[in-house]
Amino acid sequence: MENKVVQVRDLAAAYRKNTVLHDVTFEVEKGTLTGIVGPNGAGKSTLLNTILDLHPRLSGDVKFFGKPFKNVKKKIGYVPQRGSVDWDFPTTAIDVVTMGLYGQIGRLRRPRRHHREKAYEALRKMGMEFYADRQISQLSGGQRQRVFLARALVQDADLYIMDEPLAGVDAQTEQAIMAILKELKKRGKTVMVVHHDLQTVEEYFDSVLLLNRKVMHYGKTKEVFNRENIAQTYGGNMRWFGKEHRDEFTVHE
């Protein structure tokens, strides 16, 4: 059981009276990079929120590292959607990253030099070291996302759960983030990412979870991510332009 980082069994969740997720069962193994993919309204964000107890669950059982979430919070780094926080907040990029270190700094102590250095190092990894003292409202969408990632990195978690970190970012940011995710995986960390771009799934993730209110397909990307399964997940809303043509998927919502 050591190898199982996330175990979800028969999970169901609802908004008001509408069931958004039902019969969700899957297990994530250590050291994998998993993409969670599905159409709009498939419940991708709800899935993350529910397993992290941010959204009430109707039924089911969720375990991280074999234990309930509340016992292993420190081992989990969550990166919410960029739009979920207030970017007009009076704070600088480096202060946001330092936030990720609060657990290590302790409540009454001030951040020490090595904490500051660690925060700078994370910003450097994201190519953001020259923006450290910039107020966050002055950063672009991609730069904000990189600051968010840097904050998660300094937390030094074993499992990272990220909600659409690549949505609406520039190509440079996307590359920087993917490089970090691959490095995390190499260091034996486990990463789960809600992802929206079907074209890059094969390149980015070694496992994929196709979600549409329930788990449609889940497994190694090579085995699961094929035309048939994608069409099934997206229903009739997908047009396939042919692999031999331009290797392009277009999704019509």
Partner: protein, 280 residues
């Protein structure tokens, strides 16, 4: 400067100094938590608290604090229920507070020499030693709690979801914050008046937000702004015989206008980099 020889003016200056220390801290969190109207609600509710105290013949400050604490806790639960419409609970409780205050006042009319008008508009003549001590105690409590909880509060205010997932006691912190805001309002309301107490808490932080890029910068600048606004407001109130709360609010608004104009002009003259550098 004869005004400094009057005991009530000395107490008013002492109170202003203490209020200037706590208002920007509470104000900044209220603004960032999108709860700036909560201060207004609590001040209306605190009128009901005062009216209750006058009616049953207990020191109105104590009934006031009790009522406001209950409502502050209630507000947090309503905030959780109406997540997306958090202003609903604020609007409802504001009117209910006012309505209850008016009814209690009418029932109690003629039973006491203290008039509710005094609490509506505030009066510096009525500040007594006990209030100064209470304010000092409150300042110390808020100062200590701020030192202990500044980091968790900062995370909670910036990003409530992450605050939860890293295991911070978010409910307890939110309730404690609301309660402290309520008690502060109850304590300073007789001085500056129920109608304008929220302005004195919110405005310094709101003005300071335009000046500083860092969190601590906003709080420190806010304290300076509050101090300047409150002291000059008091002097104006004494010299012109105007109500203290109103005088302070108008001066704070003037500061806001001057800073906004100056910032705009500096920006226009391309000096804004110089300007930003001088801020913490």
């Amino acid at each position: 400067m004869e005004m400094f020889f009057y005991g009530f003016m000395q107490r008013a200056f002492q109170a202003s100094f203490l209020i200037s220390l706590i208002a920007p801290i509470l104000g900044l969190f209220l603004v960032l938590r999108r709860q700036s109207l909560m201060a207004d609600t609590l001040s209306h509710v605190s009128l009901a608290g005062v009216a209750l105290g006058l009616l049953i013949g207990i020191n109105p400050t104590w009934t006031n604090i009790l009522v406001v604490i209950i409502i502050a806790i209630l507000l947090e639960f309503l905030r959780q229920i109406y997540r997306t419409y958090s202003e609903i609970s604020i609007a409802i409780l504001m009117s209910v507070g006012m309505a209850v205050a008016l009814v209690l006042m009418e029932i109690g009319a003629g039973r006491t020499t203290l008039s509710v008008t005094q609490f509506l508009f505030g009066s510096i003549v009525t500040i007594n030693k006990e209030q100064i001590w209470m304010l000092l105690g409150l300042t110390i409590i808020i100062g200590l709690l701020y030192l202990i909880y500044q980091k968790p509060m900062y995370v909670l205010t910036f990003d409530e979801e992450t605050a939860f997932t890293v295991g911070l006691p978010i409910k307890m912190m939110s309730i404690l914050f609301n309660v402290l805001t309520g008690v502060t309002i109850a304590v300073i309301m007789p001085i500056v008046g129920a109608l304008l107490v929220s302005a004195i808490i919110i405005l310094p932080a709101a003005i300071s937000l335009r000046l500083s890029k860092s969190f601590y910068g906003v709080i420190l600048n806010g304290m300076v702004i509050a101090l300047v606004g409150m002291l000059s407001g008091l002097v104006a109130s004494y010299e012109l015989g105007t109500p203290p709360g109103a005088s302070i609010t108008i001066i704070l608004m003037l500061i806001f206008a001057v800073i906004t104009l100056a910032k705009y002009m500096l920006h226009y003259l391309k000096f804004d980099r110089l300007f930003n550098k001088s801020q913490g």
